[in-house]
Amino acid sequence: MLSNLSFIGSSFRSGYLMPSVLLITSVVLVGISIYLTINRVIKPTIRRLPAIDAIDEAVGRCAELGKPLHYCPGIGAISHQDSIPGLAIGAYVARKCAELGVRFIFTFMNATIQPIAMDMIQEAYTLVGKADEFRADDVIWLSPRQFAFATGLVGLLSRERPGASLLLGNYAAESLICTEAGFRAGAIQIAGCTNSYQIPYFATTCDYVLISEELQTAGVYISKIPEQVGTIQGQDYIRLLILLLMIVGSIVYSLGIKSLDAFLKM
């Protein structure tokens, strides 16, 4: 059997052989893409993300109005795939706020975010030479419970009335409560998550929205580091491969040949 790796005494879990082959192929494609980008064989570009371009505008608006900026990476733990880019963008926004002297209010729900957020924001202020302006009181753990967190956020947005509210990270049922509160507070709102059930709520209540993978790409878009941009190019190669498999699979299956289907289900 192909799924038995007798030479190392291991075997694939049932139905995981092909997914793992695809995963390894994906890793290889991304690796090749990074290599080609570093060596300037390819020069990948990322299309414009208006939501990210609007961040500078939002910070500028807060500076002009003399209002604080609110940022929230959502309800996820640090291990969530949306929290990581959420924090990376948060670091960028914190730095912009520090540069323009805008008060940066950071809220979160999961306790695992706190030490990293503290470190990240403090560093952003230090990097622009304004370490003394960092306020630990503005890094606020509202609650470990979803709706208590949403209530805390509604209260905070009504009291502080920020000039901009950025909600980039993992969101669930509380998304609409948070964005409606920001809308009522008159804040310019930029939101994004990968949860497809929440994106329509963001689209109806926010000025700019990062949809699904745009959130995870945003960190790369900001940094513009070639190695990072290379991973996005690799992502597109995988997309092409999957598309090709889907087209070939559909044609072959329609012709009554089921061996490719059986092979992919291994």
Binding site: G9, S10, S11, F12, R13, Y16, L17, L23, S26, V27, V30, A77, S79, Q81, I84, P85, G86, L87, A88, A91, Y92, A111, T112, Q114, P115, I116, M118, D119, M120, E123, L127, D137, W141, Q146, F147, A148, T151, A173, L176, I177, E180, T194, S196, P200, A203, T204, T205, I211, S212, E213, L215, Q216, T217, G219, V220, E227, Q228, T231, Q235, I238
Partner: protein, 222 residues
């Protein structure tokens, strides 16, 4: 520079641990190999323990912030209520656990706090969502251009089909149309998001393994 603030401890060690754990858990998902499986299982258990320690740090940090607010006479009432509730519940929980051997999940006082304060509060906020949906829908469903007009018509048809009156007026056709919109068109769109998210997560994971993505370390901008 002390060893605690060195690049090795602050950057390379967390990155190395993260890369090792990512590869280990990925291998555990696909391969049956006792050593890998037991190592991955231990790693997942230890992440729970680390998570618990982070909660302790966060409780101490939040206490420090609110004690400072009380001492500076800012938000005295709110901060006092928070500190008393948080530490009162915590101390009572420990007192019952070590004094009477009753855990927080079986202690009636803790359960009553949850059932009579936390749970109704959660339900209330969740119920408010209905009004927010109505308000957001009012803003979204306005026929300003062709796209929003299509959205408006489809939304009205879907709402009618889900209400008993829709089937009574328009017959089974509207139900079949709505089923098509929800099960075919909507699902196809959602799967595009899902697929894109999975690909982006793979790329993100590779960036973490290679050390390009450092947002989770609190150092994304260097």
């Amino acid at each position: 520079m002390s060893i605690i603030n060195s690049e090795l401890l602050r950057r390379y060690l967390p990155w190395g641990i993260a890369a090792f754990l990512i590869i280990l858990t990925m291998a555990d998902t696909v391969v049956i190999e006792p050593t890998i499986n037991s190592l991955a299982s231990s790693a997942l258990q230890s992440s729970t323990v680390v998570g618990a320690f982070v909660v302790i740090i966060s409780v101490l940090l939040i206490s420090r912030i609110h004690v400072r607010r009380v001492s500076r006479k800012r938000t005295v009432i709110e901060s006092s209520v928070l500190l008393i509730s948080m530490w009162g519940t915590l101390v009572w929980g420990f007192f019952r656990l070590f004094g009477a051997g009753v855990g927080p999940t079986s202690d009636t006082t803790i359960l009553n706090i949850f059932d009579m304060i936390v749970s109704p509060g959660d339900s209330t906020v969740f119920a408010i969502l209905a009004f927010f949906i109505a308000s957001a829908a009012y803003r979204a469903f306005r026929a300003r251009n062709l796209d929003s007009a299509i959205l408006l018509v489809v939304a009205i048809l879907c709402m009618l089909a889900k209400a008993p009156i829709g089937e009574t007026i328009f017959g089974l056709g509207i139900v079949k149309l709505t089923d098509f919109v929800l099960n075919v068109a909507n699902t196809a769109g959602r799967r595009v998001f899902l697929m894109a998210m999975i690909l982006a997560t793979i790329a993100l994971t590779i960036r973490i393994i290679l050390g390009y993505e450092r947002g989770w370390m609190g150092r994304a901008t260097e």
